[in-house]
Symmetry: C2
Subunit: 331 residues, 2 copies
């Protein structure tokens, strides 16, 4: 072995991941650590991991797995008002499968470019168990401007981006549940829902708008109901949500109308990766206009209320919808 | 469920990890992300993961597992000349075992305090496989002062901290190899070696000294021979090492003298977590004096040479020692 013959691990990193390490602070992945320049900003840091068989299915396409692993972190940065700056990757693999790895690296590289979030370093380890991908991502916000879970005030309007519930329905399609049966003759609709489960669409285009208007913000990853409860608990407030105003996709709306989907399951299921935020009533119009400018669909779904009660989800007639669980929990 | 009744996952985080999140940027772990203040410094980032059955043994004490997970990252920060500033933790668990978790959190908390490296956030996920702990840690260096793998020049002296080879011998003791047999009657010696495998002693006290004197630096985690080859490759130089000057512990020296340990295996085994660095010959004395002031033992083991050949390891008679492998690789 000479200096030029790296170990299997180093060779794997050089082949698949070095091309992604375009930031000068990554030093081409040949050093032991990377540099992030703060340039007068605060650095926002977030870590999220996904596990084969828990957060994705073993035969999901590797490009999408890579994108999901990065995007669950990008979604948090967006909700905090931060601009992506870079990430580090821990990849635990049973074996170095070339075709899986090259597709995984391709997906990761595409997202690193399109979200402006370069790979800065990583660790590749062997495991006898399921594949696990842990990413820690950094973003920049002007000093003191990170938007928190706390900060919502009574009277603030509750806003949510995109549509809610598609991902949990997509998982149901993959698992052959009622949604799969209802969509047996409609492959395009099935693919749309599956795509929402496999590859989240984080709302990073909304970050500046969140910083400028939101009193509190978080991403919806474990279920809208549970995540709103967390935002309310952190802000020491309660909330009332008009369930009929929760944005749903045309496919989900059709499934709801046919009784093949359940709104309670959709708002307590996970994997939406939309932004949930609160905006003062007087800034409502300006926020919606700016979000429109940013190209992100936003819906107003309710109002923050005083008190410490759990958020109430009301149907079109003002009756409270009963939720057996608020969100996904690992334990 | 009310706002005050967190999920199993949140409850686990609140009980075990919130007490460790003492940094104001951690927001008590109730937010989705943390803040790092750079204050005119560069932020150095590093991630390293450890997997049950790969980097530690399933019945290793949880306090030590936590310390190892953090210290493998702290060791990199030290080698880069950075002062620890904080870390995020991904913990993949089969089940929420209270006694394991409380011991793990206790160990992690002790190290967070003693190394000044607070927990800033994390993600706890379930896995059907082995426990995996991934930590991303960062530190601060004065702008532009991170010490790289590249930068070593011909004539520079090669320095290494502490002792080399104890950890790989400790693993051999745990696995019942020749070192275990040779030390059958000496439990204190066995414990010393096992301790070096289970809980590394990162040389963070040397960080400022590395910044002030080293031309190149990295930590020794995969084996001294392989890691020196990496440093040389990055610096486009070669090296000659006098193996008789490689520092060994009294126990390791005794095993070597009895033929129960092999120096080639000790310098290509992993888990030392010492610092390997190069220092210009004219700064040699000053470096050794400052390292002594910092309380870190340092030995000079060789000299950087021109050329691209692999580093040569010479015995006391100047004959090259043959190494069948240079370091540990996962794949």
């Amino acid at each position: 072995m000479t200096n030029d013959t790296p170990s299997g691990e180093d060779s794997l990193i050089a082949r698949y991941f070095k091309p992604l390490a375009t930031d000068p602070g990554a030093f081409g992945l040949v050093d032991d650590a990377a540099i992030i320049k703060a340039e007068g900003c605060d650095i926002v840091v977030k870590t999220d991991a996904i596990v084969e068989g828990v957060h994705y299915l073993p035969d999901d396409p590797p490009e999408g797995i890579a994108k999901k692993a990065l995007r669950v972190n990008l979604s948090d940065l967006a909700a905090k008002g931060a601009t992506p700056a870079g990430f580090v990757l821990t990849l635990a693999l049973r074996k170095a499968d070339e075709s899986w790895l090259s597709a995984f690296a391709r997906g990761l590289g595409e997202d690193a470019v399109s979200f402006g979030c370069p790979l800065l370093g990583g660790d590749t380890v062997s495991t006898p168990g399921p594949v696990m991908i842990s990413i820690a991502a950094w973003g920049r916000v002007p000093a003191g401007r990170m938007v928190h879970r706390f900060g919502a005030n009574p009277g603030d309007r509750i806003m949510v981006t995109g549509t809610i519930g598609d991902a949990v329905l997509g998982l149901e399609v993959l698992k052959g549940g009622p949604a799969a049966t209802a969509l047996a003759g409609d492959p395009a609709a099935r693919e749309l829902l599956i795509g929402r489960y496999r590859v989240p669409q984080p709302r990073n285009a909304l970050a500046a708008c969140i910083r400028d208007f939101a009193t509190a913000s978080m991403d919806v990853s474990d279920g809208l109901a549970g995540d709103l409860a967390k935002l309310c608990a952190a802000s020491k407030v309660s909330a009332e949500v008009d369930v009929s105003r929760i944005p749903t996709s045309p496919v989900a709306a059709m499934l709801l109308s046919r009784g093949a989907a359940d709104i309670a399951a959709m708002i307590s299921g996970g994997d939406d990766y939309e932004i949930l935020c609160t905006v003062p009533a007087v800034k409502r119009e300006a926020f919606l206009a700016e979000a429109g400018q940013a190209g992100v669909a936003v819906a107003e779904i309710g109002t923050i209320a005083a008190g410490a009660g759990r958020p109430r989800f009301l149907d079109g007639q003002g009756a409270e919808i009963s939720l057996t669980r608020l969100s996904f929990s690992h334990f």
